[in-house]
Structures are given as C-alpha cells and as structure tokens.
Amino acid sequence: MSARHLLGIAELEVADIERLLRLTDSFVEVGRRRMPKVPALQGRTVTWLFYESSTRTRLSFEQAAKRLSADTLNFSVPTSSVNKGESLRDTVATIEAMGVDAIVVRHASSGVPHQVARWVSGSVINAGDGWHEHPTQALLDCYTIRDHLGGLDGLHIAIVGDINHSRVARSDVWAFTKLGAEVTLVAPPTLLPPSVEGWPVRVDHDLDAVLPTVDVVYLLRMQRERMLEALLPSLREYTACYGLTRRRVDLLRDKAIVMHPGPMNRGVEIAADVADLPRSVVIDQVRNGVAVRMAVLYDLLGSGADLSRDLPGRDAR
C-alpha cells in the first residue's frame, strides 16, 4: 500500500486492490489449514476503536488479527471513559501511548478515521465511517465476486437501495469500477446522493428493467428511520418497488449472484426465500471477510511496505 493507512477505496490504486486480492488468496489457503494461524504479525498489536455497535465486522477483524498472531487490545466503548466525556483525541492518545501498531476505527461520523490518522504514528484502518466508506467490505465483495464469476472486468453490477446513507455503496462503487465493472445504482431519487457528478455510475429507478442485464445484484440494508425523514412513504412501498422478490429473481441471468453486506432485513430488501437460494452468496462474503482483513493487516503491518519504520533514525521521533 502506498500509504500507512487504509481509509477508503477512493484513494487506492487499481494495483493496490489487486495486490490485496492476491494476498487474500494466500490467506484463504491459510484458513483451510489444519492450524489456520501464521506467525506473521507476532509482536504487533492491533486495537479496535468501535464507536458504533458492530458484531460481524469486529469479530471478523479480531479473527483476522488472531490468525496472524497479532496481539489484540479490545477497547470497549460502552464501558470505557468515552462515556465519561473523554474526547476522541484523548482516547486515541491514550491507546497509542500503550503501544499499538494499528487502530481499527468504526464511527457513526464520516471522516473520523482520517482525523485519527492525523494524530497517530501507527496505521489506521477504516472499519466503516458514517456514510463515507467501508473499504474492507468492498474488498471482500470484490473477492467474493471474483471467486464466483472469475473477475470483475466487464461485469454489470446493480447496487440497490439506500445509496445515500450507505458507506458500503460508497466503497463498492469505487472498488467495482476500478476493477472494470459497470455499476448501476438503483434507488428512489430520495435515497440517491444529492449529486452523483463525478461518480462512474449510471442511475436507474426501474429494478425490473435492470435485473435482466446484471451479473451481480447487490442489495443494501433498508433502515426504518428513513420513513421518518420523509424519504419513503412506507417499507411496504419500498419492497414493492425495490425489494428482491422471488418473482424478480426469475428476471436474473442464470449465473447472476445476489449479495448483501448484512445484516439482512428479510422481507424488506430481500425476500426470505431469496436469501437462501444458492445464487445468494451472503455467507461467502462473511467467510471471505476474515481473509481480506488478514490481507489488509498483513499489507499494512507485515509486508514491509513502510520500510521507513525500521530504518535508523526513525526512533528519534
């Protein structure tokens, strides 16, 4: 990686993404071993700074770090001094003083990982910030697509749902298009960003028309509070227009796959029986998440990409 941090897909070069996916291949193999653990990050410490509840991303990162033999420090926000009014900066300074090599940050506000990155000498990994980006999700999505369909170049991918409030969409749009896929955003106008100027995407409002042309349909989680903000009349109407129902699945090409970042609202954006079809690869996404996060941790902390760390003079800091 050209930088010390993984803050977003938008800043990555295609070569960075491709290297991470290749590295993921090796870590998928590690995961299949009788002892799925390597000593690569022995002596390195990774900590979590999760200001927003997240079970799967956190567990996935924790599993990744442990399989790399890194030490992990759990900073549990609900029981910590954060609730006593400690500022983000003080919290970060405290953690860094304990000696950590990487901080994995999840926050409800966009841009927090960028702020943290300005304050620390170690690596910062964005595990989801507000509506902005969720880069490891995008990497595992790319990996899963590549695994099922051979590659992304030339594919047509529809991302369906609440694009504007989705960090997953903001990361996936960049990751998919950088790897050569065409992306169509499908959503009611109220759930699209105010402007998609400069986004390498097409926009459509007719899911039935888009489905027969795609290789991947990527469904986003629909949140109930959107009804209160006058963005949608009702969940029922959303499901009727944008939900992946059994009838709509039949519009898909034979090889097309269905993806979802989880957790799914069965019966809202995805029908219950659709979620369990063989073409739904949601469980593969979760499984690949561990290997992708191992690749990211290894790339930042273990591959020696940041050679200056070990060069003389660095300690004078």
Binding site: A10, S87, L88, R89, H107, S109, S110, G111, V112, H114, Q115, R118, D129, G130, W131, H132, E133, N164, R167, R170, P193, P194, S195, V196, E197, G198, W199
Partner: protein, 429 residues
Amino acid sequence: MKTIAIRGGEVVDATGSRRADVLVEDGRIAAVVPEGEGRDLVADVTLDAGGCVVAPGLVDLHTHLRQPGAEEAETIETGARAAVLGGFTCVLAMPNTTPAIDSAGVAREVLELGRAACCDVRTSAAITVGRAGEQLTPMAELAALGVRLFTDDGTGVQDGRLMRRALEYASALGVVLAQHCEDAVLSGGGAMNEGAWSSRLGLPGQPAEAEEVMVMRDVALARMTGGRVHFQHLSTRRSLELVAAAKAEGLRVTCEVTPHHFTLTEACCASYDPVFKVNPPLRTDDDVAAVRAGLASGVVDCIATDHAPHTPEAKEQPFDQAPPGMLGLETALALALTHLDLPIAEVLALMSWRPAAIIGADDAHGGPIAEGRPANLCVVDPSATWTVDPDRLASRSRNTPYAGMRLTGRVRHTVVDGEAVVIDAEAQR
C-alpha cells in the same frame, strides 16, 4: 495622554488619497500635514508609516467574542486584541453568548467589559428572547443603550410572521435587523454544502436553497414593511442576485460577505478537518466567483469576519459534530488584499467606512482623516508578506483555516481612540 505622529505614509479615506503625516492628540486627529509642507511634527511617539497606507480603522459587523459563557474560546479582551492586530478599531459583538445578549443587563455587561478592551466594542442584540425565535427582545430599551443592530445570528428567524413584526417594530427605533439566512428545516443539520463533494464524502449537506429561501422571504418582508434588513455572511450566487435585485428595486437592504467565502471552497472539507466547518458552509467555485464579483460590483456592502473562535477540543470532534466557525479578525484584511483584485481604497471601503455607516458607528470610525476627527486609525503595509501561524494569533483559539498560508498585506500600527494599541505588528496591551 501621549501624542502620536504617524509619518511617511499615504493617507487613504473615503475622500481620496494623499501623502501626509498625521498628528494625534487627546484622542483626536490634531493635524494632517501634506508632504512637502515642511512642517516637522513633534510627538511623544512617532510611528513610521513608510511604504504604508494610513486609513480609518476597520469595522467588523460580525464578531463572536464568546463572552459571557464561553470564555475558554475567547474573551472580549482577547478578541479585541485580535481585532486591533487585524486593523479593526471597532467590532460588533454577536449575541449568541450564554446567556444570549437579549436583555439590557447582558448588553450592559458586554459594553462594560468592552470599555476595558483595546478597541471599541459595540454590541448587537438578539431579535428574539434567548434567540429562540418566539418572543421579541426589549428592542427600545436595548436601542437606548446604543444597540444599533439586532440579529439572532447562529440561527435565522424561522417564523415569517415574527420577522415581519420585528421589522415593523424596529422601524420606529432607527435600528437595522440583520439576518443569518438559513431555513433550519431545509438545511436539516447539514455539516457542509450539499452537492458533489458532500455526496462523495458521505457528509450530510445543506443546500444553497436553505440560505436563498430566507433571503427571498426577507426581501419580500423588507418590501412589505419598508424595514431595514442587513443580510449576514451571504455565500451563494443566487443570494447575491436576490440582493442585487432588491437594491435595484430600491429596498433598504444591505449585505456582507466573509473572507472565507471568497477564498475557500467546499473542496476543503475533503480533509474532514472541522477547521473548515463553518455556517453558512464553504460553497462551490462558482459561488466564490460570484462573491468576488459582488464585492467588485458593489452589490456587497461590506466584508465581515464572522470571527468564530472554538477551542481545540471542540474542533477535534468528528466533522458532523464539531461546532461551525473559524477565526477571522487577524487574517481578514490580508486575505482581501491578497485574494481580491481590488484597489486598496476599495478594500478599505468594504472594511471600514461602509460597515461603519451600516451600524451608525461613523461618528467615530471610518470617517475622513481630518483635523478634529476621533483618532481611530490603522496603518497597513500592503506589500509585507507573512505566514499565518495559529500559535502566534492573539485570539484565545486556534481555529484558523489559513494555517501555513502566505499572505500579502499586514497591519503595522493601529490607533484606537488616540492610543497606539498596535506598534510594528505587536499588541501594546
């Protein structure tokens, strides 16, 4: 009181410019001696104005001094010091303090503290009690204390009927109502300008229309009531077009813009550094061009700083949670001189005599530099370059977006009420 001689400069005021020395005695200008008359001024203090412009002191219609209530960010004393270093001899305190300046008691406290400060501190007062937008403040009582401008700044008056009544009531008092134009429902808590950048960054945006609909409404109310409306910190092309049309129609409206709205764009927010969070937000390149054009064409009446100090702790919060606002007093003149393609006399008009006239401060500030006038002056070296260093600012806060930027034009001396409060860019008290 010490006498002061300002020698070797070019005197510039609303009447024109000429090379002259200026003698200050007992708080007033005692003599203006044109170059070549050969009279040698004798004074206790001699200020070198070689290569400089000697101008009426600057007047800021939009200063958040944070006292009472947020003295950790700024006090009237530190804010006034920042002001004089920036060439201002008069600042108008905004009322969004804690408690708000909405009663004679709080206004008196601010004015009292201001008397000990190193520049002329005047105060605005809120239009509504607690700036809550529900009940009018005792405007007549406040006007009797010298308040000439009322505003709920920090928020706009949302209720159109209440704004109408405020304009009608104020018209009998000879005061001006100033509006922070923002339809709070439409702006919806947006942390930056809504558009391509907010979409990309995943930050909640506030649309330009949230500002423009309130400008539109208040133009209509100015027409309806015949009242005086001053539009604060306008930031969009269409806002300025609306004001231009209202002026063409003969309505009694004026407006101000801030240095950050003619120097910075929404693209700055890509760093997610809350130092770039301000309200109204930094807008597009096109809006910046429109603000500059408005300054050149005269649609904009004055430059105001919207000096808004915040502590580092406040500005180290996540972007969407950090309070909006940036420092302005110590950089405003240099930004105007560096980034506006205007003659210095025009910049001084926008920062001195025109704002002075809007709040009736022209009895003491912004007037011609002539014998007998109150001695509120600034001496500006238009070619001096300097680098903005947050740690060297006099403000108690550090939230300048211009850290590290090189600017051209620096205040060398400032004289307030006959006292040299800044000499060679150093505050004297």
